[in-house]
């Protein structure tokens, strides 16, 4: 098949954000996913988040692996460079891209097969290193693109469309990311845009490895009774710990009145994540508590969503590497090559 360009009907009433773009400017090609696929809702949330954040689209680099989920970067941010890499290996390509130019925003999109099976090694190491990125797993518990095999995040006991039961215990990427040192960890549901958009915004504002596991039902292969990743199951068992707003640069554009259950977390760039706690005793600044809390609820079959952990003072991989402030891809021969005279000295030392 060939591509379909989305008709660019710029309605005069479309609102422009502070950098002069309309919401449309953050869209991409028309999706080729199944109607009702959770992944499309996530794409829409990404579009909304980037527009609201006043990010110039070309300052984002979007990368993905292989899968239905990994196809989606073609369906948002059409004015950003995108890279559909190989199955499970998006994290390394993103890491390399991030090393090359520290000035762009990096958005990695992956699937549960992509990140929890074939690519789990790369997932692990990108989190450990603190690559400054927003890493979204569109988690449907199956391999959508290869037609419905169980993925490693499928719950033990959940049933495939054909009625086969999954006997393996599941990988929980959220717990894993916490254990590995990711400095922003969240879970959400593709059907909950009100929660998801602010989470993506907060993740993109975060410096360091920001991970969001988004439960995203596959209507073709995993939206039936026995599945714990179906719309119905998640709606019934979703237990949100908090709701959040992003307050940019402390400018008071805030809408919600803070009350007792509010936590403000200031990020490195001065923006503030304001969390309205829904669970009274939940504090997302405590990694251990987060891990405990998630395990505790998982045992009860509950899916906790919201911002589960954030370390606003995290350092990223470039800070660890002491990389120069000028992006490496902008350094020219004069900056990089020691030159002929220095080489003569090297030669002299080798005789």
């Amino acid at each position: 098949m060939t591509y379909i360009a989305k008709p660019k009907l710029h309605h005069p009433s479309l609102t422009r954000n502070r950098v002069g773009f309309t919401r449309r400017d953050y869209e991409g090609k028309i999706s080729t996913l199944c109607a009702g696929c959770g992944h499309d809702s996530i794409s829409a949330a990404i579009v909304q988040a980037c527009w609201e954040l006043d990010i110039e689209p070309h300052r984002v680099a979007k990368l993905s692996g292989i899968g239905c989920s990994s196809k989606t970067p073609d369906y948002f941010l059409g004015q950003s460079h995108g890279f559909n890499t190989v199955h499970g290996r998006m994290p390394s390509v993103l890491t390399g891209a991030y090393l090359a130019n520290r000035d762009l925003l990096y958005l990695g999109v992956s699937g549960d097969g992509d990140s929890a099976s074939i690519g789990i090694g790369q997932f692990v190491h990108a989190m450990r290193r603190g690559v400054d990125m927003t890493y979204i797993v569109e988690n449907n518990g199956v391999y959508g693109l290869t037609k419905g095999q169980f993925s490693a995040t499928a719950d033990q006991g959940s049933k495939s469309k054909k009625g086969v039961e999954n006997t393996d215990s599941p990988v929980d990427l959220v717990s894993l990311a916490l254990q590995l040192g990711a400095s922003f960890v969240a879970r959400s549901f593709s059907g909950d845009k009100a929660q998801l958009v602010p989470l993506i915004k907060a993740a993109m504002k975060h410096r360091g490895a920001a991970f969001i596991d988004v439960i995203s039902p596959c209507v073709a292969f995993n939206n039936h009774g026995g599945s714990t990743k179906s719309y119905d199951y998640v709606r019934e068992h979703n237990d949100a710990v908090n709701r959040l707003d992003i307050i940019e640069g402390r400018a008071a554009i805030e809408v919600v009145q803070p009350d007792d259950g509010v936590i403000d977390v200031e990020q490195h760039d001065g923006s503030v994540i304001r969390l309205r706690k829904l669970e009274a005793d939940y504090d997302p600044r405590d990694r251990l508590e987060a891990m405990n809390f998630i395990a505790h609820h998982a045992a009860k079959g509950e899916v906790v969503t919201g911002l589960l952990f954030v370390d606003a003072d995290a350092r990223d991989f470039h800070a660890h590497l002491k990389t120069a402030p000028t992006p490496l891809n902008q350094l020219d021969t004069a900056a990089l090559c020691p030159g002929a005279a220095a080489l003569e000295k090297v030669n002299a030392g080798l005789r």
Binding site: M1, T2, Y3, K29, E56, P57, H58, A61, P73, D74, G78, Q79, S80, H81, G82, F83, N84, T85, V86, R89, P91, S92, V93, L94, T95, G96, A97, Y98, L99, A100, N101, D103, L104, G121, Q122, V124, H125, R129, H318, L321, K322, T323, A324, T326, P327, L328, N329, L331, D332, T333, L336, C337, P338, G339, A340, L343, V346, N347, L350, R351
Partner: protein, 604 residues
């Protein structure tokens, strides 16, 4: 063996981890400083401590740097391998051993035995066990210097250089050296049948290993991202890059103009290189055969998505549990055709550290110009052994060639952009870096399902247009890669020999030897794949063509026959693949035998 000056082979048999390496290297360097060419080779096991290790030094006034084969003087310091080591000595040669313990009975009568009570001397002079061990090596250095006529000053200067800034180490070493030398002077018959005599045959050449040279070449070539995973024999490439980056690329405020990542595996290494290349930074990885195998999926993607990547492959023998510490040229095919689908990759074959340096920088330029993976094909022999070679050269005017990249200005001016359009007819399209322009030049990168404007397409004609352009691009590569070098025989001949990489010094020596026997050979050294057409012309211009390789299956020959649709009968393979570096004896023997057989066939 007959008496000779500046022409012999000495082999040190040691125990790995005993500190012998630096003493042995110093021995080789001392001879070099006396103006006499040497070529040392490490023969070491795949472990850190305890197993046998050898260091073989060929001394050759004529400047033959290939492995000669045979040993004239064995410094047998390892009881474990003693018997086998003694067997290797050429008749009439010498055995040098630690005579603290008596020689086992029945040692060969056709060699001369030199005993020096090294352990006893150490025990007598030093209390600390570690010092006894380390200085034992320096003691034999002293003894050998006396026996072989190596100048004391030269060795002492080298020792002072080695321990520059650490006088507490320098002096004991110099003292031990003098002690050994004095003992040999008083107690041993000297000089031996062969000796080192000061000469002027080294010139301004430098002495370095190919891996360090490649690492430095990557610094000069402007690589800023290095992602790698440790594997013998390539590890020292990344280590050298790091060392030279710390020397040359750190700002006054400590900020680094480079990023080095020890990745979790080779898949991640190449993934990072691909990501960095896509995003406009020069990036490379260093690995060996098993690593290349892991990288192949990404290499195919990089080929089709047209992303620059430089891969330094220091070839070794066989698979992961194979012969990691032995040399071969056995990854030619696995690199040239790495990955699935119709892929082909550019390979560069340096002959020595000098070219390893230059080709590393060239590889980074080529990868950018051709927007494709480029392999720098070293092997253990040139990678991990110090080799005498021409000094490194860098043209002061040279700038990094970044290839066809449209910047913000070009995009702003309205230059039409389609990522895979063949605007110039050379198969190389223009690219843009992410983040260049707010509304122009962005595109979506994927493998093959695309049209010339990088839009999703599964249409056959779009696929064909793309892969045919890639083929054109590979044709273009022929004129951009290092061209082959021809050395003609002194008289016209119908015999031609092709060779490449580390075979070079042995090939030259073999050709000289055969020329002396009246057999004239035209030589062509292949330096890159895709082969320029001059390689085909050379083959067709000679009646009998040999191709010398260090692998079992004549891999380069397969590529050559395939590339030019040649009659396989035209090219005879000369193959060496036991893991040791190829020798002139072997090449000359194989060619001589083959020609004799042909003559017999003709006569019959």
């Amino acid at each position: 063996m007959t008496a000779s000056t500046n022409d012999f082979v000495i082999k040190f048999a040691n125990v790995n981890g005993s500190g012998s390496a630096s003493a042995n290297e110093l021995f080789a360097k001392a001879i070099l400083r006396m103006g006499v060419p040497v070529s040392p080779r490490n023969i070491f096991p795949s472990n850190i401590q305890g197993l046998p290790t050898w260091y073989e030094v060929r001394v050759s006034a004529a400047g033959h740097l290939g492995r000669r084969g045979g040993v004239d003087l064995m410094v047998a310091m390892n009881p474990q391998t003693f018997e086998a080591d003694v067997r290797e000595i050429e008749a009439g040669g010498y055995l040098f051993f630690d005579s603290t313990k008596p020689l086992p009975p029945g040692v060969r009568s056709d060699i001369e035995v030199i005993g020096m009570p090294l352990t006893m001397l150490c025990v007598k002079h030093y209390d600390d066990p570690r010092q006894r061990q380390l200085l034992k090596n320096v003691l034999y250095l002293g003894g050998l210097s006396m026996l072989l006529g190596i100048e004391a000053d030269v060795v002492e200067t080298l020792l002072s250089e080695q321990y520059k800034g650490k006088p507490q180490l320098a002096q004991p070493n110099i003292d031990a050296f003098r002690l050994g030398r004095a003992w040999a002077k008083d107690n041993l018959k000297h000089p031996l049948k062969f000796a080192v005599v000061r000469a002027d045959n080294v010139g301004d050449r430098i002495f370095i290993d190919g891996n360090s040279a490649a690492g430095l070449g990557c610094v000069y070539g402007g690589a800023t991202v290095c992602a790698w995973y440790p594997i013998t024999p390539s590890t020292s490439v990344a280590e050298a890059f790091e060392k030279y980056c710390h020397k040359f690329r750190v700002d006054a405020d400590g900020k680094r103009k480079f990023a080095i990542v020890q990745a979790e595996d080779e898949i991640a290494s190449i993934g990072m290189v691909v990501g960095a290349g896509w995003n406009g930074a020069r990036a490379f990885t260093a690995t060996s055969g098993p690593g290349v195998s892991l990288m192949t999926e990404f290499l195919g993607l990089a080929y089709f998505a047209e992303i620059p990547a430089t891969i330094v492959n220091v070839q070794r023998g066989g698979p992961s549990t194979g012969m990691p510490t032995r040399t071969q040229q056995a990854d030619v095919l696995s690199c040239a055709w790495a990955s699935h689908g119709d892929t082909q990759h550019v390979l560069l074959f340096p002959e020595d550290p000098h070219e390893s340096f230059g080709f590393a920088a060239d590889a980074l330029d080529l990868a950018d110009k051709l927007q494709t993976p480029v392999f720098l094909m070293l092997d253990l022999d040139i990678g991990m052994n110090q080799r005498l070679c021409k000094p490194f050269q860098w043209d002061a005017e040279r700038t990094h060639q970044r290839g066809k990249v449209l910047d913000a200005e070009a995009l702003e001016s309205g230059v039409p952009f389609g990522r895979y359009r063949d605007v110039d007819g050379d198969g190389i399209a223009y690219r843009t870096y992410p983040g260049t322009h707010p509304v122009r030049g962005a595109y979506f990168t994927r493998g093959t399902t695309k049209d010339a404007d990088a839009r999703y397409s599964e249409r056959g004609p779009d696929y064909l247009e793309n892969v045919h352009r890639l083929k054109r691009k590979f044709e273009t590569a022929k004129s951009l890669v290092p061209q082959p070098i021809i050395e003609r025989a002194h008289r016209p001949t119908s015999i031609g020999v092709l060779y490449f990489g580390s075979t070079s010094p042995s090939m030259h020596e073999a050709a000289q030897r055969l020329a002396a026997e009246g057999l004239a050979l035209d030589l062509m050294r292949i330096r890159a794949y895709p082969f320029p057409d001059s390689v085909r012309d050379f083959v067709l211009a000679h009646e009998q063509v040999f191709l010398v390789e260090q692998n079992r299956d004549a891999q380069l020959r397969t590529l050559l026959i395939h590339a030019f649709d040649l009659d396989p009968a035209r090219v005879t393979a000369v193959l060496h693949y036991d893991g040791t570096p190829i020798t002139a004896r072997f090449i000359a023997g194989a060619i001589r035998d083959r020609l004799a057989a042909v003559r017999q066939e003709v006569a019959a």
